[in-house]
């Protein structure tokens, strides 16, 4: 599904390398987790993959289903099936959540040459999906993320994911700012979307999210590289001993 080879990325504005040769393959239908200390380059990886401005790829490649995505516009990557659940979902005052969702869904359908969803069809689907995420009608009407609590924002991200039905989902620190109950709800939402045709890359600092979203593969990232890869037990090791031991071991 996603194949990253020797990816080197620096900041556009200043002379600073952040990713220093990332190699990563996420197979179709699998859930991979990336863990790592602050500043290791986890979020940068998610931004570079989704096409945010401000980064410069100096070497390497990233392919989604065999197609190089690094030269694509962000919306083209989205239409190709890449989705990023933001660590800090953005507020858009005055734009209703529903309007936003519908514009996004139809923009992607249009880009893929599919017919746009009618208002009625759309409403039916969105209500169904919102219900399972405990998102009420009021939240659908309110402006995008404005005045939402941390938990509401993250649930809203998952709702967008459910509506857009991407192939490759990147979750950037989706657990940050969530209490246990909210995290469970979000994890349930994600688990409901797990599917043989859909892959996940779950970026997290802590192991606790992985109790709820069980990964197939866990990677440890440090100083812009994947330094260790293992099964779910690797996350537990981090939980018990912290990153220091692992980093010392690979150094």
């Amino acid at each position: 599904m996603l194949e990253i080879k020797n990816l080197h990325v620096g900041l556009e504005e200043e002379d600073k390398q952040i990713l220093k040769g990332v190699n990563l393959t996420v197979e179709t239908g699998k859930v991979h987790a990336i863990m790592g200390p602050n500043g290791s380059g986890k979020s940068t990886l998610s931004y570079v993959l989704s096409g945010k401005d401000g980064y410069e790829v100096t070497d390497g490649s990233a392919e989604l289903e065999g197609v190089d995505i690094l030269d694509m516009e962000p919306e083209e990557r989205a239409a190709a099936g890449l989705f990023l659940a933001f660590q800090y979902p953005v507020e858009i005052p005055g734009v209703g959540n529903m309007t936003f969702l519908r514009t996004a869904v139809n923009a992607q359908r249009k880009a893929r040459g599919e017919e746009e969803l009618s208002a009625a069809e759309f409403l039916k689907v969105v209500r169904e999906k919102a219900k399972s995420l405990k998102i009420d009608a009021d939240m659908l009407k309110r402006p995008v993320n404005v005045g939402f609590s941390g938990g509401e924002k993250k649930r809203n991200e998952i709702l967008q994911m459910a509506m857009l039905e991407p192939k490759m989902c990147i979750l950037d620190e989706t657990d940050s700012g969530l209490d246990v109950d909210a995290m469970k709800l979000v994890a349930e939402g994600v688990n409901a979307l797990r599917d043989a045709g859909r892959s996940f890359l779950v970026i997290t600092h802590y192991q606790r999210l992985l109790d709820h979203i069980k990964p197939d593969v866990v990677h440890i990232m440090a100083d812009g590289k994947i330094v260790k890869t293992g099964g779910p037990e690797l996350a537990l090791e981090v939980e018990n001993n912290g990153y220091a031991d692992i980093l010392a071991e690979v150094a």
Partner: protein, 503 residues
């Protein structure tokens, strides 16, 4: 006949060319020109021109005198220069002050007699000049609201729809030139009573040379049975459009009035100096909505309409209420301050505005709320959007007079910048002459945020769609104040006006 055929062939060719040009590079949808024979008054401005306009409109002597007084006054006035707009000096002698399609020399008796080319023009602009529902003898289906239209083409009114049906309700809706002939007592009483002849340079010029416009009279206790609208179209070259609108709402009357404007795409700037007067007696209510989409000039700032407009409502009666809503997307230069004189006790004035300036456009617009009566209330919501190299200024006055006990005003002024070469300016004037008055002013300036755009694009929208969405969100408070049909149009217009503003 042969000659006529030639003309028709040529017209066909022209139209194709125009369409082709539009589909290739034209972003301004209404930039086409109607190929029609036009009768001009001689170029320039003097007393004879004023006399000629009056004569063309078959006006009584008192009207001519009124015009001449305005003209003489205008000669002694100077063009104002306090607004934040910069444009080459206007040569007032290098303009035509009167242009009318030849086919309109004899006023058509009904819409059926109007030159098909003119009807075609309006059809192309999406303005229905046919009373289809009425002609078919059936009631319009529910939800399909009918709108009566007065269509003004260059200097003359082409026709007014639903006149008879409105007359049944006692509503007078006609061109101002007809009103001067048919309802002189009303015109004499109210014309210039809100915007005096001597008010300002452009209003005085308008008083001297206005050629047509709309007239509305809503009798006591009457709710106008449909929305009224005027559609202004400038077609002739080097011609100024000077229209005059007068709306009178008697005690307890209500009307919602819409105004739309477009002009062909030309590289020489054209002048538009209009005056709108609204008179509200006790408990009357007027909603006045404008979607202004004059040609804005090209990307280098060549051409476009200079829009110098004086609009004012006089809430004479107690508890009267006026609401101005404007969406200003066009014009090279906009100079416009729809105002409310809150004279009656408990009267209310509201002003909702979206002003978009892209490329080289300049807008200096806002409102004046003059609180004279007790417990008067006003509300101002202004959304200015600047893109390209445009300059956008909000200029507003809130004045609380000594007798305006417990008067209140709330002002919210938001500016949005797209890119880093444009400017937004807010110039609020506040005068408070009594201690019981309350004035609140909030102002914000923000940039279209890269994070917001990236968020939208990650969800699949392209950059322009993303900007349009964010900007429409920014304007929501104002868009909501527009009548439904207008709101949809305005929303689309916001997106079109900002095309090419990012990237």
């Amino acid at each position: 006949m042969a000659a006529l055929d030639d003309v028709q062939v040529k017209e066909g060719v022209d139209q194709e060319t125009v369409d082709a040009v539009q589909s290739v590079g034209g972003k301004y949808k209404y930039g086409f020109e109607t190929d029609i024979e036009i009768e001009y008054a001689p170029k320039g401005l003097n007393e004879d021109i004023v006399r000629l306009i009056s004569e063309k409109n078959k006006e009584p002597e008192w009207m001519l005198e009124w015009r001449l007084a305005a003209y003489r006054r205008w000669l002694q006035m100077e063009e104002p220069d306090w607004a934040m707009v910069d444009y080459p000096e206007i040569d007032f002698q290098d303009q035509y002050y009167y242009a009318r399609p030849k086919s309109m020399a004899e006023k058509p008796k009904s819409l059926d007699d109007v030159d098909p080319k003119l009807l075609e023009t309006y059809a192309k602009l999406g303005i229905p000049l046919k009373e289809q529902a009425l002609l078919a003898g059936v009631e319009a289906p529910e939800g399909d609201r009918r709108v009566a239209v007065d269509a003004v083409f260059d200097s003359v009114s082409v026709g007014t729809t639903f006149k008879d049906e409105l007359a049944k309700a006692g509503v007078i809706f006609c061109s101002i030139s007809e009103a001067i002939q048919d309802h002189p007592e009303l015109v004499k009483k109210y014309l210039g009573s809100v915007v005096p002849q001597s008010d300002n340079y452009y209003a005085t010029l308008n008083s001297a040379v206005f050629s047509d416009g709309s007239f509305v009279y809503i009798p006591e206790g009457t709710k106008c049975p449909m929305e009224l609208s005027t559609y202004f179209r400038i077609n002739a070259e080097n011609t100024g459009q000077f229209e005059r609108t007068l709306i009178i709402a008697e005690k307890g009357a209500y009307v919602s009035y819409l105004e739309g404007c477009t002009a062909p795409q030309r590289d020489i700037a054209q002048l538009h100096a209009a005056v709108v007067e609204l008179v509200l007696l006790e408990d009357a209510e007027i909603k006045y909505s404008t979607v202004q989409n004059w040609f804005p000039g090209d990307e280098e700032g060549k051409g476009g309409i200079y829009n110098f407009v004086t609009k004012r409502a006089d809430c004479r009666g107690d508890r009267s209420k006026v609401m101005w809503t404007q969406v200003e997307t066009g014009s090279a230069v906009t100079w416009k301050y729809p105002s409310c004189i809150l004279r009656g006790d408990d009267s209310q004035g509201e002003f909702y505005s979206i002003a978009i300036a892209n490329n080289m456009q300049q807008a200096d617009t806002g409102t004046k709320m003059i609180h004279l009566g007790k417990n008067t209330k006003s509300r101002i919501v202004s959304k200015g959007i600047s893109a390209g190299k445009a300059q956008n200024t909000y200029r507003g006055l809130v004045s609380m007079h000594p007798k305006a006990q417990n008067a209140r005003n709330y002002t919210q002024c938001d500016s949005l910048l797209i890119g880093d070469k444009c400017g937004a300016h807010t110039v609020p004037y506040i005068e408070v002459k009594n201690n019981s008055a309350r004035v609140e002013h909030e102002a914000t300036t923000s940039k279209v945020d890269d994070e917001q755009l990236f968020y939208c694009r990650q969800r699949g929208m392209d950059e322009e769609e993303a900007v349009a969405l964010v900007v429409n969100g920014f304007c929501k408070d104002v868009l909501q104040a527009l009548p439904m049909e207008f709101a949809m149009e305005a929303q689309a217009l916001v997106a079109i006006s900002l095309e090419g503003s990012v990237g």
